[in-house]
Symmetry: C2
Subunit: 455 residues, 2 copies
Amino acid sequence: MAHLLIIGGSDAGISAALRAREVDPAMEVTVVVADRFPNYSICGIPFFISGEVPDWHDLAHRTASDIQAKGIRLLLEHTAQAIDPAAKQVTVLDRTGATRELPYDRLIVATGAEPARPQIAGLDLPGVYLLRPMESAFRLHRHVRKREPRSALVIGGGYIGLEMVDAFAHLGMSVTVVEYMPSLMPTVDPSLGRVIGAEVERHGVEVVTGVGIEQIERVGDLLAVRGTGGFQARANLVLVAVGVRPVSGLAAAAGAQRGIRGALRVNQQMETGVAGVYAAGDCIETWHRLLERYVYLPLGTTAHKQGRVAGENAAGGHSTFAGSLGTQVVRVFDLAVARTGLLETEAAQAGFDPLAIELETWDHKAYYPGAHRIHLRVTGDRWTGRLLGAQMVGHVSTQVAKRIDVFATALFHGMAVAALSDLDLSYTPPLSSPWDPVQEAAQMWISQRQGRHGT
Amino acid sequence: MAHLLIIGGSDAGISAALRAREVDPAMEVTVVVADRFPNYSICGIPFFISGEVPDWHDLAHRTASDIQAKGIRLLLEHTAQAIDPAAKQVTVLDRTGATRELPYDRLIVATGAEPARPQIAGLDLPGVYLLRPMESAFRLHRHVRKREPRSALVIGGGYIGLEMVDAFAHLGMSVTVVEYMPSLMPTVDPSLGRVIGAEVERHGVEVVTGVGIEQIERVGDLLAVRGTGGFQARANLVLVAVGVRPVSGLAAAAGAQRGIRGALRVNQQMETGVAGVYAAGDCIETWHRLLERYVYLPLGTTAHKQGRVAGENAAGGHSTFAGSLGTQVVRVFDLAVARTGLLETEAAQAGFDPLAIELETWDHKAYYPGAHRIHLRVTGDRWTGRLLGAQMVGHVSTQVAKRIDVFATALFHGMAVAALSDLDLSYTPPLSSPWDPVQEAAQMWISQRQGRHGT
């Protein structure tokens, strides 16, 4: 009986385990999990901190017993120390400090990512938090509940930073967010970033952009934070959310190649090139479907897909990862912010001839109560007419998340912007317009392109 | 200067006029409108009746002056009497009873549809209503506001019938809905129809299915309604919503061919075959992209698209209608009900080997507050694996309308059900799951298909 060993019990690892058992119910599958929290939704941590999810147990995508019921063996609180690809075994350390060798026929490395530690003095002071793994979330949760801090400063205005800003504000804290780039949420264009900034400020949060934090010091009960341009602020706690970096050392030591930001190199079958060793999730480079090259783009959705591909292939199947488009959505206060594909700047860097338009329109017929404005930004290639990307910001009720998915599905198929008008999308006055905002934006893009051609 | 004449000022006609002026700003465009209400959203009538849209003027997609500002001439309260394709002119009757001839270079027939009149005795009694055109909506609105009827009986449990049921219930009336088929909303499968039935009953509406209405009589202040199987009921007013039929006589008299249910035959360029004469909207047969044949499938979204194609081509452009997938959504009380593509029965009739699965799941991570259940039904071809259709019912907040659009975009491209798992769809816990319900359903379909193959 073939034995599949998986290192890592988060999205990619558990997806791989489940898929392998589906494809080959006879396969023996063991997952080595560093902590006691297999298959936890780390995307849910901000809502646990805010209290919207009171019980952290609910953050599990599946419980350990759900996973075990699928015939998967979980080794909790075991840390992989070394991979020996020649002997096909992995050395693991258990909670008692004992090590042992686990043999494998196939191995999947799903070691994930860890928070990036920026060059800031004072990161290890009490009251300064980074958000992964679950244990650090527990520490922050205890701090917030027991010591009732009045103020928080969040370093990083990307999607996790803003979710935490929202969580702290939800708790009634006075919040400041500091972003190094000129506008919040640098994963969308600055014009939409400003819409987000206005929403964040509307909820009483101080927004500071274009400032790099350099130092954190303790001053009595407070943390004193200093940054570029003379920036100074004080807060009871500081949260750092400036991205993540892949955990790839273990596989690299066993001969796997590393690429962008040290992430593991794999092919679209999730093979590392080391015989019998696959990798998936936040520890690897991701194939970008539109750029047709590898990027580092760690997302939970992608980790699930890559895990599924790795699990299927490790179990003898033939699956290929179709590629990422970088589709993402985040809720920030009353707004949903979504994007897919490329920004105008990214498209230009990739050699496209991007044209971007921006449209503000209603999510549904304005005559029907409850209509909200949506901001859309659509980028296409001026020369070929091909859709390259879309961004959207709108009230959380405006179906922005699934409207971006229409763009994502169109991008998947390499559609032309003009062809979006041909899509047979649903309409009823309380939920859309006869031309959905997606199509209205496409038609604006076409007019703009023709206008520019004409001049 | 070329002159484009358009008969009909609803969705198709006005879309055609606008597009023609965009493509050729020098083109002279005249629209003959039978009433005083060009470009009204007839889909909005139920919300005007319910009072959710207090002012009927708001139902205009655009005002007459918006349209005229685009350089389009409107002839309101003019009725086309005859088309002379040899002389290239149309005889119109104005409100004074005078007739005159309007010459054209290109003609677009967009005469729309009228409510079907079922074989029921008593349809012309006072208190019995059909819902188009705007004038009949005004009469019903006056009845409801001035005479404050306590009860309504709606004949037809399709999407317009149910929107009117919702409207009457919103007004506090006692409502009965009678559907001839075994479940409400026969455009979705009975299992989902039953979910809708339960929602309608939860709002105090009496649901009667499997009954054909035969007779309406006046008995004092009430209308007495009789149907098959001994059905009897009384109500202050009766609304009939059993579908529409194309208004195609005018074009047929000028030599245009008619097909299914008397709808005009056109090609995908919207040409009728009569030189210089195009047709679009609810008066024509519609190309079905999946069935690859013509059907009668009148929808506002389709009328807009066909009008756009006709307008572009009449102005010298080269546009092709990409076909309909029958995508639609309707809000019924707190539910959104959506479909695209084929039902299992329709797929079997068309020669496919359909396999349908049904899934009930959460619209977003259940740990985040406000999660609701969604019912999905996905149909694919067992032999080729191709996606054939999808249906969804869920709370109006569950993005069902735009989730069906992901299926619609996939169908547009002839995707396999299995490939839906490859789509890079957006995720954040308050709005979805790492595998969107669309993908969860696809994965269930794949398992089911493999299971059946295995037996």
